[in-house]
């Protein structure tokens, strides 16, 4: 019974850190160390219950298909220590409950940083950042967030703890840490990570441009990226969105605003900014007021509030499909505010704020219908939706999970065929 | 350069190949065409090394890979050991024959070679007429056996081009012989080669300059004969080199057609004749290059007697050579060797037109020539 389970867990983590969750056969458990966490998993597994990972920013998982099965909502909140900071190698070994933002606060005084990732994603715990894959966790300068992972520690379904060796690169078989990245806790519960760090850049340069169309702006972005420009951030804002966020840009219908930040050693940052400038010029654009870029950057960092956000929708696409995806979404929802960001050589993400013609957020049935229309249009244009998964390899995922977790303990509701 | 013709050096070459991480293998056309690892130069040499050390018996099945080489020398371009697998493998073939383990398709080859040689010479006399031949003179033309066999139109074209260049009628060498003997060496019959070479040299000596249409003939006469103690004493040049000295006399057409030039291996990698054919062709055409050309030319499959020992592979090599052009939608290929012309023509995919150098020049300069009539007994 849940009481018995609660008792066993309390013996490990202390009674203060075991709470029943009202309305569900579930307990919220918050271990204080990786060892405690491993014991919790083992006890949960032995009791036939399920482990549901929770952490800062990690939405309490859609717990589907568990029926009346008991579950433990296992939180990494108290695993919030920096285990080791290796400044010589620019590596940080930190526990998985630490949020990206909290880690940045610890690193900042030393002139270090996780890197130019979108600040919005850093509210997540490290475990959530690594365990849940969304296209937005990307930086043109540093790559996808998973690439910052140099090593992982995780607890498997039987309570064993594994550690992957930290080395810049290896040829010792498959990259086993990648089994854990993006797996939403189904392969193992991430308890710590060794992450690659970056130095605070010597220079940060901002720039803003107006281009005759979104197509031209997207073309300019990839032109610059192919010239090996590695911006810290790049966003293309269409006219509808600009009207709200950048009214002083005075964009006409169809035009686009491109704002960019380049960073690194001064000469290199300047070179990257020049690459963007020439790409923009090649696509018929012209420089715009620097203040626009500065405003974008401040809002991105959260030091200036953004006008009221509204329910959103995102779709990612490769360089060859991005323009089509943008236009498809625009056609499907003519009143939406759209911008494109998270650029890298693999593509970018189109973000849509779904509002009506008065600029009010959509809700209820109208919202549902609009989202469905936008999803259909984006998919038809070759884009990928958040949470979409190709299912061709699902049998192998199922087999892998069955091997490591025969009792189906680790987040059984996640990553299954719907 | 090491002296490649001593036992110590051959022993070194065999060992160097055996222990080498097969650096040359991407270049070998036989293994690349078939995908067979046992046909890469390293494996062929390793096999010979085992045979020479009595670690394997000399039998047709164990000596099979010794024959899987056209002597194209592409491997040597990527060899820092200064090895010559093509040459050493020929010695292996000779040894295999001596031990009764010769290639089954080459049984009685010496006799068959002689018969073919005489037949081709006789047929040529009939086709071109006795007046086209001479046994002495300032310049003699030696087209090579494959041209006399399947490329007599090319011979006529060459003679037309010679006339157009003001060189007058250039006679064919009257010797009752068609081939300089390289196939005998490729068959592992060095004694027969020496004997045949003597006859050819005697005939060639009577001219001041010999112009050769076949790249293997040129190589045999200028390089291999002297090893057997046979000197020709005459200036011997390929038709490409010969035409190159007169290239500026060629009329340039108003518009130059696009023509790809295929380097024969025995010109580009055995004789260093790379620039001359391009100079000739460049006068009359817009010369284009294959992706692998010049010192990196890819073999047509016609050398080393491969068309006799591994005919399907030889033809596949020719097809592979032309695949690049076929993928581009077709085109014209010119080459400066009778054997290359034969192999490429036989295996040309749709849309690819193969031409001998002289024939290409004749066509592109509107120089008329008459392919000779077939002899009476041919269909």
């Amino acid at each position: 019974m849940t009481l018995e389970l609660a008792g066993a867990l309390a013996a490990v983590v202390g009674a203060d850190h075991v709470r029943p969750i009202p309305g569900q056969p579930a307990l919220a458990v918050t271990p204080g160390s990786p060892t405690e966490l491993a014991d919790v998993v083992r006890i949960t597994a032995d009791a036939g219950a399920a482990v549901v990972p929770v952490g800062a920013g990690f939405r309490a998982a859609r717990v589907r298909g568990l029926g009346e099965r008991r579950r433990v909502h296992l939180s990494s909140e108290r695993l919030d220590q920096v285990v080791q900071l290796d400044e010589t190698s620019m590596l940080c070994h930190a526990q998985a409950g630490l949020t990206g933002a909290a880690l940045e606060k610890i690193l900042a005084p030393r002139g270090l940083s996780l890197g130019d990732y979108p600040p919005g994603i850093l509210g997540s715990s490290l475990g959530g950042l690594i365990g849940v894959r969304t296209p937005g966790k990307s930086s043109a300068r540093h790559g996808f967030f998973e690439e910052a992972v140099a090593g992982l520690s995780a607890v498997l379904a039987d309570g064993r703890t594994i550690h992957t060796r930290v080395a810049p690169r290896r040829s010792t078989g498959p990259d086993l840490a990648r089994a854990l990245c993006g797996s939403e806790g189904t392969i193992g519960y991430i308890t710590a990570a060794v992450l690659r760090l970056h130095r605070r850049p010597e220079a940060r340069l901002l720039a803003a441009y107006v281009l005759p169309s979104v197509d031209a702006a997207i073309a300019a972005a990839f032109l610059a990226l192919r010239e090996e420009c590695a911006p810290a951030g790049l966003r293309i804002v269409d006219a509808t969105e600009a009207r709200l966020h950048f009214p002083d840009a005075g964009l006409a219908d169809g035009q686009a605003l491109l704002v960019a930040c380049t960073a690194g050693p001064t000469d290199l940052a300047a070179c990257d900014r020049d690459l963007i400038a020439s790409a923009v010029a090649a696509e018929g654009g012209a420089a715009a007021d620097l203040g626009l870029a500065e405003r974008w950057w401040r809002r991105r960092l959260g030091t200036e509030p953004t006008p009221e956000p509204s329910p959103g929708f995102q779709a990612s696409a490769g360089p060859g499909q991005l323009t089509a995806a943008y236009h498809a979404i625009r056609r499907a929802v003519p009143t939406a505010r759209l911008h494109v960001s998270r650029f890298d050589l693999d593509g970018a993400v189109v973000f849509a704020t779904l509002v009506d013609d008065r600029g009010d957020a959509l809700a209820g049935d109208a919202l549902t219908a609009t989202v469905a229309r936008a999803e259909a249009a984006a998919t038809a244009a070759g884009a990928w939706l958040l949470g979409a998964r190709p299912t061709a390899l699902d049998p192998y995922l199922k087999a892998l999970r069955a091997q490591l977790d025969p009792r189906g303990v680790m987040n059984p509701g996640a990553l299954t065929e719907s | 350069m090491a002296d490649h013709f001593t036992t110590a050096d051959v022993a070194r070459q065999l060992d160097d190949c055996t222990f080498c991480p097969k650096m040359c293998r991407h270049a070998c056309p036989v293994s690349t065409t078939t995908g067979r690892e046992s046909l890469i130069p390293q494996a062929k040499m390793d096999r010979l090394n085992k045979l020479v050390h009595d670690q394997e018996p000399w039998r047709p099945d164990t000596t099979e890979s010794l024959w899987a080489c056209t002597g194209c020398r592409h491997c040597t371009v990527y060899c820092d050991h200064d090895n010559e697998p093509g040459l050493v493998l020929l010695s292996g073939r000779a040894e295999a024959n001596k031990r009764g383990a010769g290639h089954p398709a080459l049984a009685g080859y010496g006799e068959r070679f002689r018969a073919r040689d005489q037949r081709l010479a006789a047929d040529a006399r009939e086709r071109f007429g006795a007046e086209a031949f001479a046994s002495t003179g300032a310049i003699g033309f030696w087209p090579g056996c494959d041209s006399l066999d399947k490329g007599t139109a090319d011979v006529a074209a060459a003679q037309a081009v010679f006339e157009r260049l003001g060189l007058g009628p250039v006679p064919l060498v009257d010797a009752g012989l068609a081939c300089a003997g390289y196939p005998l060496l490729a068959a592992g019959l060095p004694d027969e080669f020496r004997w045949h070479a003597g006859k050819v040299a005697t005939a060639l000596r009577r001219f001041q300059t010999i112009v050769i249409g076949c790249s293997a003939c040129r190589h045999a006469i200028t390089a291999l004969y002297q090893g057997e103690g046979i000197s020709v004493g005459t200036t011997v040049v390929s038709i490409a080199e010969f035409l190159a000295t007169h290239a500026d006399k060629l009329p340039a057409p108003a518009t130059k057609k696009r023509v790809h030039y295929h380097d024969p291996c025995y010109l580009a990698r055995s004789a260093g004749v790379i620039e001359e054919p391009r100079r000739v062709l460049g006068q009359v055409a817009d010369v284009r290059e294959f992706a692998w050309s010049g010192v990196d030319t890819e073999c047509c499959g016609g050398g080393g007697l491969l068309p006799k020992t591994m005919p399907a592979v030889a033809d596949a090599m020719a097809r592979r050579r032309l695949a690049e052009l076929a993928a581009q939608g077709g085109g014209i290929v010119a080459t400066a060797c009778g054997t290359c012309a034969l192999m490429l023509r036989r295996n040309a995919p749709d849309g690819v037109e193969v031409s001998d150098l002289a024939t290409a020049v004749a066509n592109l300069t509107d120089t008329p020539f008459t392919p000779p009539a077939a002899p009476a007994d041919e269909p």
Partner: protein, 555 residues
């Protein structure tokens, strides 16, 4: 050992026809090995391989491959994928017999998607041919291993290969958009798809490096870069290894990405500074365009050496000739092996000469390439950073000299083996903080038994790889194999002890299989689980990657 060989042949012929199957001893012999130096010890002793495939097959389509795998699964026969056979770890050795699938008849470069800069290429294509075709079309894949002449794209992917320019372009696993493979169940799967959007494990990263144990890769989508507009090469000199390592760390951590980074330790620098034939481009060109011409009377064909005879049978002339031959060539060989018989002494002596007498310091080769503007800026910043770290600019020439001979090291294997010694390389990697420890520990461990040289290359912001070259000698095959195994054991255990990885880019094969448990520890559970999920019947290259092969061991 395995199911009836004749049955296997017939089944294969039923799939691909008679001409693309072989059970000929000559073929089985060839495919029994790759370039693992330990296998050469047996070859040199005249031994025939004991682990042979049952048959070799050359499929031309992925459908044929799938049919072959399904057939093998039904029949209970292992499958061993074979690309260029250039691996140095014995990855293609058929431990339990089986069907060797040679991928080289699937060698098409299918197409390039210009919008994504992604190429679709079949696994059996030779690296050199692949790269040349890309250059023709204005691209590069950026992977230039010293085995590029003899390795295939599929082999690169199966082993997570790295090239000399990996500091800029990454290792191959950094540039794969998707793979097509036939899994151990005989199913064809694609791992393509926008990685970022997909929930669940990154299957591409789980298949890369699996060395044929999860399936056989038949084609891949690879990320290209535009062909570089500018290439810059430079040589520097630093006082010692520590100074060089520090200089590299500073460059990489500043966010700069040179393409080529090669720091040679004192011994390597010293040995390379002489006895190193300068690249005579004109002589090479002459060799490549002109066949050797025999002197009159030498014969048109070179003479084969006579079979070896016991020395008792040699007449006085033969013995004299033998001595002359030995004086010309063998004596040098004997001296070399005599030197190698005292490795500690030689390492110490030459090391002292290098450090204290010759004082050549350490050579550092740097190269950058890429888009013109950015490369110019990066080069200027890189050279300035190196000079600030105390490196002395030696100009372009050392860089150009390196480039002209970039693959030369591979040809050095033959003379060493001919002389009765053996040579091999060990590449390990770790973080900057541990790097010098790694260098000294592994060098000490190897130096007990062999002459050791090292260079640092493949650098990253967080660390670097070290490439050790070692040569040793033992009197006979058995002693050589024992010495070889001891060297590897001592070296890899030293690496593991300091926390480094046992292989940066060569892979595992048979060589490192015993050390996988030490490398991965509990994480081996994930590898084992992957194996079960992709290859439940253990058909795919069994007994590799340190995975148990219970089904086959019992036989």
């Amino acid at each position: 050992m395995v199911a009836d060989a004749d049955r296997v042949r017939r089944e294969l012929e039923g799939i691909v026809g008679p001409r693309r199957v072989s059970v000929r001893p000559g073929d089985l012999d060839t495919y029994a090995r790759d370039m693992w130096p330990r296998l050469l010890l047996a070859r040199r002793a005249g031994a025939t391989p004991t682990m042979l495939p049952t048959a070799v097959v050359w499929p031309e389509t992925v459908r044929e491959v799938a049919a072959i795998v399904r057939m093998a699964r039904n029949l209970g026969v292992p499958i061993i994928p074979y690309g260029g056979g250039s691996g140095v770890c014995g990855g293609v050795v058929p431990r339990f017999g089986g069907i060797t699938i040679d991928t080289k008849r699937m060698a098409a470069l299918r197409g390039i998607r210009a919008s994504d800069q992604v190429v679709d290429v079949e696994a059996g294509l030779s690296g050199e041919r692949f790269e040349r075709e890309l250059t023709r079309r204005g691209y590069t894949f950026g992977n230039f291993p010293s085995s590029i002449y003899c390795s295939t794209v599929g082999g690169w992917l199966a082993t997570r290969a790295a090239g000399q320019l990996s500091t800029k372009y990454g290792k191959v696993e950094d540039r794969v958009a998707g793979l097509t493979l036939v899994t151990g169940t005989g199913e064809v799967v694609d791992t393509d798809g926008p990685r970022r959007a997909i929930g669940g494990p990154d299957w591409t990263q789980l298949v890369l490096g699996s060395e044929g144990t999860l399936g056989i890769i038949t084609s891949a989508r690879l990320r290209l870069s535009p062909a570089p507009q500018l290439k810059v090469l430079r040589g520097f000199e630093v006082d010692n290894v520590a100074a060089g390592v520090e200089a590299l760390r500073r460059v990489l951590q500043r966010g700069l990405k040179p393409a080529v980074v090669r720091l040679y330790d004192e011994l390597d620098t010293f040995v390379n500074s002489f006895g190193h034939h300068h690249h005579d481009a004109a002589a090479a060109e002459l060799r490549h365009t002109h066949a050797p011409v025999p002197l009159p009377g030498e014969g048109a064909l070179p003479p084969l050496p006579p079979p070896p005879r016991a020395t008792d049978d040699d007449g006085p002339l033969e013995r004299l000739l033998g001595m002359v031959r030995k004086a010309r060539h063998g004596l040098r060989g004997d001296a070399f092996t005599a030197v190698l018989d005292r490795p500690r002494l030689i390492n110490r002596v030459v090391g002292t000469v290098a450090e204290k007498i010759a004082r050549k310091g350490c050579k550092l080769i740097i190269g950058l390439e890429g888009a013109r503007l950015r490369t110019e800026v990066e080069a200027a910043l890189t050279f300035a950073e190196l000079e600030r770290a105390g490196a002395r600019d030696q100009g372009e020439e050392p860089g150009r000299a390196w480039l002209a001979r970039r693959y030369a090291v591979s040809y050095k294997m033959s003379p060493v083996f001919r002389d009765g010694a053996f040579v091999d390389t060990m590449e390990v990697a770790t973080s900057w903080a541990t790097l010098l420890d790694l260098y000294h520990s592994v060098r000490a461990a190897l130096g007990k038994h062999a002459m050791v040289m090292a260079h640092f290359s493949h650098a990253y912001p967080e660390g670097c790889s070290i490439y050790f070259t070692f040569a040793a000698h033992a009197p006979d095959r058995a002693a050589s194999e024992r010495l070889y195994d001891t060297i590897w054991k001592d070296g890899l255990e030293a690496a593991t002890r300091v926390g480094a990885t046992i292989s940066h880019h060569h892979g595992v094969g048979m060589l490192r299989a015993p050390y996988m448990a030490g490398e991965h520890r509990e994480a081996m559970a994930i590898l084992t689980a992957l194996k079960h999920s992709f290859d439940p019947d253990d058909v795919m290259n069994p007994g590799k990657l340190g995975l148990a092969a219970r089904r086959w061991e019992a036989r």
